[in-house]
């Protein structure tokens, strides 16, 4: 009994701690609040209350171990038969097969009609998957709208550029990279797309769509920080490591007499994460 009395005092003490820390928490809040102090006070209040309640249950309550019989879940045969009779016979389902069939057809038709508004949630994917804002004549500008000039960019460095009329547009973000021109190993058909060693690739990873933000200048490789897809800048941004399955599309560009860069058209392939009909050119 003495032990029980001591435990009673301990529990009472714990409850007192809860009451006290609750009041202090209130005071802290009123005085302006402080996240860490509030968290600790709330933790102390809840914790000592919880400890008191558990101690009460463990030490002071008579909770004998008891035994209870289980009963099989299955219904008696008579109940099951009556249920089935109620389900089918009384409603006449078994006799009116045709009517039941039509009822199900009616539900199906109505269900389809009611499900259709789901399509309002989004437009059909159309040509926009295949195109960006780049057009013949788009000037390459920085995120603040200033055109980039040849010479602004040291060799083996890069900037993010946009078309001058679509600054900040997600699908048009492009990397302009300057590399030593003699090292480039582009497809011969695209040899003219790298004026003076400047190449422009889509910045959106063809794997999962993250911006390809890392450039390893010593190896001239672009690396996507999300899943480490690695693209060889010298070889037309072909994937050389990681999960990406196709190159970053290259933007055809030329240099104007004033040293700025202008696109000769949109990317020849869809930018960003691959999808099933990307080779259809948007026809399908």
């Amino acid at each position: 009994m003495r032990g029980r009395q001591r435990i009673e005092w301990v529990i009472a003490g714990l409850f007192a701690v809860t009451a006290l820390s609750g009041v202090v928490l209130l005071a802290v809040y009123i005085l302006g609040g402080q996240t860490q102090v509030e968290g600790i006070l709330l933790g102390v209040a809840l914790g000592s209350l919880g400890l008191g309640v558990v101690l009460w249950a463990q030490e002071l309550m008579d909770t004998p171990i008891v035994i209870e019989e289980r009963h099989p879940a299955t219904s008696s045969p008579a109940e099951a038969a009556d249920f089935q009779a109620a389900l089918t016979e009384e409603a006449g389902f078994t006799r009116r097969r045709m009517l039941v069939g039509m009822l199900l057809a009616a539900f199906a038709g109505l269900g389809a009609a009611l499900a259709i508004p789901v399509l309002s949630l989004g437009p059909a994917p159309g040509r926009e998957q295949f195109t960006t804002s780049w057009r013949k004549g788009s000037r390459l500008v920085l995120g603040d709208g200033t055109p980039i000039h040849a010479g602004d960019l040291p060799v083996d460095s890069l900037v993010t550029v946009f078309p001058d009329d679509a600054i900040g547009v997600t699908d048009s973000q492009t990397l302009l990279i300057r590399v030593p021109p003699e090292l480039l190993r582009l497809d011969p058909a695209r040899a003219a797309w790298a004026p003076g060693g400047y190449v422009a690739y889509s910045k959106i990873c063809t794997h999962a769509g993250c911006p390809v933000g890392l450039f390893r200048a010593t190896e001239r490789k672009l690396i996507c920080p999300c899943h480490q897809s690695t693209f060889d800048v010298l070889a037309g941004a072909a994937p050389v490591f990681g999960p990406a399955g196709r190159p970053l599309p290259q933007l055809p560009i030329h240099m104007e007499p004033d040293g700025t860069f202008v696109a000769d058209g949109d990317f020849p392939e869809p930018v960003g994460p691959s999808f099933w009909n990307l080779t259809s050119g948007g026809a399908g």
């Binding site: 609040g33 709330l42 249950a57 909770t63 171990i65 035994i67 989004g122 769509g209 099933w276 399908g284």
Partner: protein
């Protein structure tokens, strides 16, 4: 129904007391509703006493805390992607172009009193919530608690786990910060990668090409309405089935009582179980309150607002999606085009493998029943070593998830271990196959050995019993 002592008045040794206010209230209600009969059954229900039965309760309590803190957050959050200029008290972002959603989270974190505490408790609780579910499901799996007649509740539980994962993803995407925006971008790419229907599906979910202005509003509806409603429905069914089927129990027994397929040994729901569970709820809340106050989580002001041409690095999702991130990182660079149909390199790692893994996990009770030809009811649990093949498969699956989760943080690990991230990826591609097989075989072997050892220890005893 229950033992005779249930009906024995507890006041046996004391003189009968005069009716109290409580007695009168109970009488008044019972005369009108007959509720005492029902309440007695509830209070007198027998609960087996084992710590591992509390794991699911922890998940339940986390759900309650999530709803309570979540309701508070809804009063301040603006599900709106319209651009505004940040003018709050956090100096580094002063004057930055942010969305109204991000701005509201900043206000909640820096200006609303106790707002940061609530936000961090909410996030920590979500992290613990999924962890509790995962540990709970491991307990169910390794002890065979999913076996007939509890297959339905296994399915309900798997559904709840899936809902919890989606709730987590939609929740941490709401602040519209750079990290969560990256997660959404990947989600969009994953949906888009499904052949034939992918682009359509992605447009339906996201409301157009990524990043659409409708997205945050939609995620919000999912996160605070649809998912919690589905979850509370699922939890109700889960608990009702548990109630009617009664708990399983571990082999053996307690005291002189022997656990059998036909009985339940434990303590009454009231008062012991209710008090213990309530105490547990308070203790869990206490831990989460301290975590929320002391340990920073998801500091969106460090990541900054979402900008579609920027990315935060390193970028890891919350822990429970780490294995998917790992799958994406170690996926092969394979993108075949057959008859004009391209299979995106994302499709296999992000859709096919998770579908197979989650599908097998979902159907496990039926797979095991078919494989072992065991279609009997089981009320007594197994110790994990009593089903060594299951033990091996479970251990292999856990290893698979752990390797993938580590691969999902390969960039962080590479810095810690001072090795190239490429080497880690190459190693993970091998380990993700080899290690689960090895661990599974070892676990299976240990299970078999333990079974033999127990058999050896038990045999003489049983012979003694039958001989006497």
């Amino acid at each position: 129904m229950t033992a005779a002592r249930d009906r024995a008045p507890t006041t046996g040794t004391e003189p009968a007391l005069a009716p109290t206010e409580l007695d009168r209230l109970v009488g008044w209600l019972d005369e009108r509703t007959g509720f005492a009969r029902l309440a007695r059954t509830v209070l007198r229900k027998v609960f087996p006493d084992h710590w591992s039965f509390l794991l699911g309760e922890i998940a339940l309590f986390c759900y309650v805390i999530l709803v309570l803190t979540g309701v508070f957050l809804t009063f301040f959050f603006a599900a709106d992607t319209r651009p505004v200029t940040y003018q709050g008290p956090y100096p580094p972002l002063k004057g930055a172009d942010v969305s109204a959603a991000f701005d509201s989270v900043m206000r909640l974190s820096f200006e609303v009193r106790a707002g940061l505490l609530m936000r961090q408790i909410h996030h920590w609780t979500a992290v613990v919530f999924v962890a509790a579910i995962v540990v709970h499901v491991c307990r169910i799996f390794f002890t065979g608690a999913f076996r007939r007649p509890r297959e339905i509740n296994w399915l309900v539980g798997v559904g709840l786990l899936l809902l919890a994962l989606v709730a987590g993803l939609t929740g941490y995407s709401l602040p519209d910060d750079l990290l969560s925006g990256t997660g959404l971008r990947i989600t969009d790419a994953v949906v888009t990668s499904i052949p034939f229907i992918g682009p359509w599906l992605a447009y339906l979910i996201f409301g157009g090409e990524f990043p659409s202005t409708e997205l945050i509003g939609r995620l919000y509806v999912f996160h605070i309405m649809l998912l919690p409603a589905l979850m509370i429905g699922g939890i109700t069914v889960h608990l009702l089935i548990l109630w009617f089927q009664k708990h399983t129990q571990y082999p053996g027994g307690q005291g002189r009582l022997t656990a059998r397929e036909t009985n339940v040994i434990g303590r009454h729901f009231w008062p012991g179980q209710v008090f213990r569970s309530f105490g547990l709820f308070l203790l869990i809340s206490a831990v989460l309150a301290v975590l929320g106050g002391m340990v920073q989580i998801n500091p969106v002001w460090v990541y900054g607002p979402f900008v579609s041409s920027a990315v935060s690095s390193p970028a890891q999702p919350d822990w429970y999606l780490g294995w998917l991130e790992g799958l994406l990182r170690i996926g092969p660079s394979l993108e075949p085009t057959v008859f004009g149909v391209t299979i995106p390199s994302l499709f296999g790692p992000a859709i096919v493998i998770p579908t197979i893994v989650f599908g097998a996990f979902t159907l496990w009770p039926f797979i095991e029943a078919r494989a072992t030809r065991d279609h009997n009811d089981h009320q007594i649990l197994q110790w994990p070593w009593q089903a060594p093949v299951r033990l091996g498969i479970g251990a292999a699956a856990l290893t698979f998830f752990i390797v993938l989760t580590l691969a999902g943080g390969n960039d962080v690990l590479a810095v810690y271990l001072r090795v190239g991230v490429e080497d880690l990826t190459a190693a993970a591609r091998i380990l993700v196959i080899v290690l689960p097989v090895a661990v599974g075989l070892v676990a299976w072997r240990l299970g078999v050995e333990r079974g033999r050892q127990v058999d050896r220890e038990r045999t003489p005893l049983e012979e003694l019993e039958s001989g006497s």
